[in-house]
Amino acid sequence: MDDSAKRLLQRFMRRIPTQMLKTTLEKWSRLTVAQQKSLDFTQSKWALTEALLDICEENKWTTKHISELEMIYVIDNPNQGMWHAFQLMDPEDDAHSVELTQFKEQFKSHLSELIRHVSVKIKKHTDEAVWIRIAWGDSYSRPNHLKPTYVVHYLQTPYVFVTSLTSKQKPLLSQALVLSTRHHAIKDANLSGKKFTAIRDLLMRQYQQAFPTKYPSPLKEKNQTVSNPLIEREQAGPAANRLQMACEAFGDGMLPQLQSAVYKLETKFRDQTNKTMTEREESFRCVVKFASTNLLESLRDCASSGIASTPVTPLLSSIPLKGRNYFVITDNSPGPSSQMHQKTDG
């Protein structure tokens, strides 16, 4: 068993929490029952690593097998690292009929055409997601399995989710993806975050949205609290209205856990009291960043509790609407920049 494999295993062991180790190894299903038994999961990681190393030695397992193990772990808990979303542009006519096997070989072949040393692993998850693990090398060095790139794609959808991709590797990956999914181009979807599931749900519209209907909406039923006849809520109507608007803007129930939204302003500085700034002709740059454990829910709460003005300013509502959390606001689109003010106090 070579050195790189060893290091890969050690690194993997450092990453994985001990309580997850058992299940992951079972999923891996390479260990014999005896070997499974031999491992004592109560002892320290360090010892466990040693034991696993021995097993790998005697089975002559290589990086290939161990990267498998890693992949299983990553697929099971994808919410780590920084995920970026990309969007495939103008599909060809047969883009719809791309199916897994052909995609697999196409992707592999395209990528290996572009770069000599690369090792690709493709695995289909139960929810139709295609998981790709790429260990990059360059023309001289062998693939480095210690920092692989992970790519997730749902066939027939225009979205691709990528984590830990360097700018050097980006063009290569893009080209391979574009060709193998029968599209013409790919672009950054301006959506990124720590939680893969959140980003996916947002773009695949896998969260509950609220729409105005003529049927009694579940919202109203939800916040009908049986209260004492002696207690009267004066502004109940407006409150319900605010909630409705907030839910229409950001969605209903559990929302995708987005951590942040960034607005980059490149606008003219407008403030009559401050001449010097106003008269500068080059645009005034600043960055506004909203951060929260669950940004969308926070925003919804702001709107429903009246801290932020309703109807919700497009700047905020376009996070779920356009499915992006990075915006550049310039003057030539007067709409947003005019709303800038009311957003910041929101």
Partner: protein
């Protein structure tokens, strides 16, 4: 802080075994070799020793990744650390290794995390570490980590000049300049703050200063900083406790930091470090060292367990590291009481002020911890201490004034009122602003029970003030020091003013309170308690001051429905009489002129007239009486002989007794005629009967029985005429 220093000397040399090592060991390796030798003596080559050796010898810039030797050794050390804790030598080696960044910051952090001392922490390596900080290659996060570690193991550091030193450290490594004055320090801190951003330790210092000089620190300390600082020991504390548990109790005392205790008791996230009284502990409380120390003529308080011992060691007492622990033991308090140097008390005050402020005026997002046991016990302990010392701490007084202004009136009410009743005399110029305004607002908006509680509290306050006066006042007009430690000196007249203010204030509260609560009997009885104190100020406490109750108190008591109140009012009036007469006589004999205004006599006589007339002479509603009503109104009411309606027989409070008496007296009678009791013979029987019911003497004394009641009255009025001129 000054006090801290005098401790350094003994304990420094306790750790001689280490100091010589480190003094010689200017370079890490050398000091290690010393350590190595002694280790070789007692134990054979074990892997742990090898591991330590590795860390002391490993060259700079050795790669970390894939360096199995490093990995194995570190794991080994970690295991030992978490199981038994590290010996002082081990700590010095590892700390040296970590802070020198020989293998980069990665291991440094990891090592710092596992530095769990088994016994004590030698101060030398810490100093060296700080020197490394000075080198400044270490990333800020790691520096913070280190500081946190030092704070965590602070009380296990063998030498005790640290409290000063730590601040010294922080300042000296965040900036080269040596800051002397606190004002400068704060300024410096603030600008550092703006430079470095919010560093937990900076914020901590700032918050500390915010307590003492808020005018300097204007920025609001974010509550998240609390968490940022509060759990500075989380990486270690659990390990610490674990280790201590394993290594047995004799160590537990040596490392009894408040929070370690806390973590044993409550698993709450928020650290009640101040609420938990530290166990009275000392560095030199392990047997071998005590011999050492006693030879050096220093006895830690913890080793004294009888008053006799205290007396013979009184000249060589070592104060504990945690002043808070003094509150625990009465011996310590006795010592504190008789000790000459103010420093001990100052330190205690310091600690106390900070604790109170932190826990009750400045808490983070801890949520609903308020009425928690810790808070209760803490305050009860404080109360106990204050009663023991017979005086309040200036810090607790200051705290109370702040707390009253944001108090909701129910939080920890018994304790707060208890503390409040202990505060020393407040100068009359301040008293309104500090006490009356907040209290008045609380009193009138709060429940009956609060009103009663406050009455009780103010009564106790008055009692204490008067007691202090009677103890400290030598001759009048000589300065009386009311509190031996907070040396507030005030003249007799000043004291009289304060007392007067207080009594009048209570009078206001009482009369309006009774009105709002519909003359509730419970409240009334608490009010009467207060006036039982007031009416005796002259005779009991020798304070030449007599203040009569306001009508708002007198009449509700007189017409109240329960006989007890009436009885107590009578008693109070009687005491007033005694005080006034004796004051008079004293004024006659001694020529020293203290003047009781004729107004007071007028009020007294007036009340007496009303009382006697309505209870005894059945002269209610007669012109010239206190309560006047238009003739025609009274006639309209169709009450037969309305003037009798409040005499001892018809008074609603005594009616039942009268009826009972009547039945006993004339069992046969069908038609009841209470007036028949008034005939002289049954009347005396009736009085006898009232005696037997427990209304003993008070009436008699107030009115000296009906016939010469008036005469006394006249006597008084006569006097008044004379004195008036």
């Amino acid at each position: 802080m000054a006090a801290k220093q005098n401790l350094s000397e003994p304990s420094d040399s306790d750790s001689s075994s280490l100091t010589d090592q480190s003094v010689s060991g200017r370079s890490g390796n050398r000091s290690l070799r010393v350590a190595e030798k002694e280790r070789r003596k007692n134990e054979a080559e074990d892997p742990f020793v090898l591991a330590l050796k590795y860390f002391s010898d490993v060259g700079a810039g050795t790669p970390v990744y894939g360096n199995d030797e490093f990995e194995t050794n570190l794991v080994l050390v970690e295991r030992v650390a978490y199981s038994k804790g590290l010996s002082p030598e081990a700590i010095s080696v590892m700390l040296e290794f970590a802070m020198s960044l020989r293998m980069g910051t990665g291991p440094c952090v990891r090592v710092l995390k596992c530095l769990i001392p088994a016994t004590i922490v030698p101060q030398e390596p810490i100093v060296r570490a700080v020197v490394w900080l000075g080198v400044g290659k270490i990333p800020i996060s790691t520096q913070v980590l280190f500081i946190k570690w030092v704070l965590t193991v602070f009380d296990m550091i063998d030498a005790k000049d640290q409290l000063r030193a730590i601040y010294g450290f922080i300042f000296s490594f965040v900036t080269e300049e040596n800051l002397v004055l606190r004002v400068f320090r704060v300024r410096k801190l603030l600008e550092l703050q703006s430079k470095l951003g919010r560093q937990p330790f900076l914020l901590h210092l700032l918050s500390l200063y915010k307590v003492f000089c808020p005018e300097l620190v204007t920025l609001s300390i974010p509550s998240r900083m609390k968490s940022g600082f509060r759990n500075y020991n989380t990486p270690w504390k659990s390990a610490l406790i674990a280790v201590q548990k394993r290594n047995g109790s004799q160590l537990a005392s040596s490392t009894s930091l408040p929070f370690t205790i806390k973590d044993k008791t409550s698993s709450r996230k928020r650290k009640h470090c101040h609420l938990e009284l530290p166990v009275l502990s000392s560095l030199v409380n392990k047997q071998p060292q005590t011999e050492l120390s006693s030879s050096r003529k220093v006895v830690p308080l913890v080793q004294l367990n009888s008053f006799a011992q205290l007396l013979e060691n009184i000249h060589r007492i070592e104060l504990p590291a945690q002043m808070g622990s003094l509150l625990g033991s009465s011996l310590a308090l006795q010592y504190l009481d008789c000790v000459q140097d103010e420093s001990a008390l100052l330190r205690l005050n310091f600690w106390l002020g900070y604790a109170l402020h932190e826990e009750f005026l400045f808490y983070g997002d801890g949520g609903a911890y308020q009425n928690s046991e810790e808070a209760l016990q803490f305050l009860d302990k404080l109360l106990f201490t204050q009663h023991f010392l017979q005086e309040a701490f200036s810090s607790s007084e200051a705290f109370l004034y702040k707390f009253l202004s944001v108090w909701d009136g129910s939080l920890l009410r018994p304790q707060i009122l208890g503390l409040l009743s202990n505060i020393p005399v407040v100068p009359s110029s301040q008293i309104g602003r500090l006490l009356f305004e907040p209290l008045m607002q609380l009193f009138f908006t709060s429940s009956l029970f609060f009103k009663c509680g406050l009455m009780e509290c103010l009564n106790n306050m008055l009692l204490k003030w008067l007691t202090w006066h009677s103890v400290y006042a030598l001759e009048d007009d000589l300065d009386i020091s009311l509190n031996s430690h907070t040396s507030i000196n005030m003249t007799l007249s000043g004291f009289k003013d304060s007392v007067m203010e207080l009594v009048h204030f209570v009078g206001r509260l009482a009369s309006v309170g009774l009105q709002l609560e519909g003359c509730h009997t419970l409240l009334l009885s608490f009010v009467l308690d207060f006036y039982e104190t007031v009416c005796d100020t002259f005779l009991k406490y020798g304070l030449p001051l007599v203040v009569m109750p306001p009508p708002g108190v007198f009449y509700p008591a007189l017409f109240s429905l329960d006989p007890v109140s009436v009885d107590r009012l009578a008693y109070i009036m009687y005491r007033y009489k005694v005080n006034l007469t004796s004051a008079k006589s004293q004024e006659k004999v001694t020529e020293q002129a203290f003047h009781i205004s004729r107004q007071t006599f007028r009020e007294f006589n007036h009340y007496l007239v009303v009382m006697v007339n309505c209870l005894w002479n059945s002269n209610m509603f007669r012109p010239g009486m206190g309560v006047q009503l238009g003739e025609e109104v009274l006639l309209k009411s169709n009450v037969p002989q309305y003037w009798t309606s409040f005499d001892l027989v018809h008074h609603p409070a005594f009616m039942s007794y009268a009826v009972d008496f009547h039945q006993r007296c004339w069992p046969g009678r069908k038609d009841m005629d209470l007036n028949s009791i008034k005939h002289s013979k049954p009347w005396s029987w009736y009085l006898e009967y009232l005696y037997s019911q427990g209304y003993d003497g008070d009436f008699m004394d107030t009115h000296l029985t009906s016939p010469d009641g008036p005469s006394l009255l006249f006597a008084f009025t006569a006097h008044e005429e004379q004195w008036g001129i």
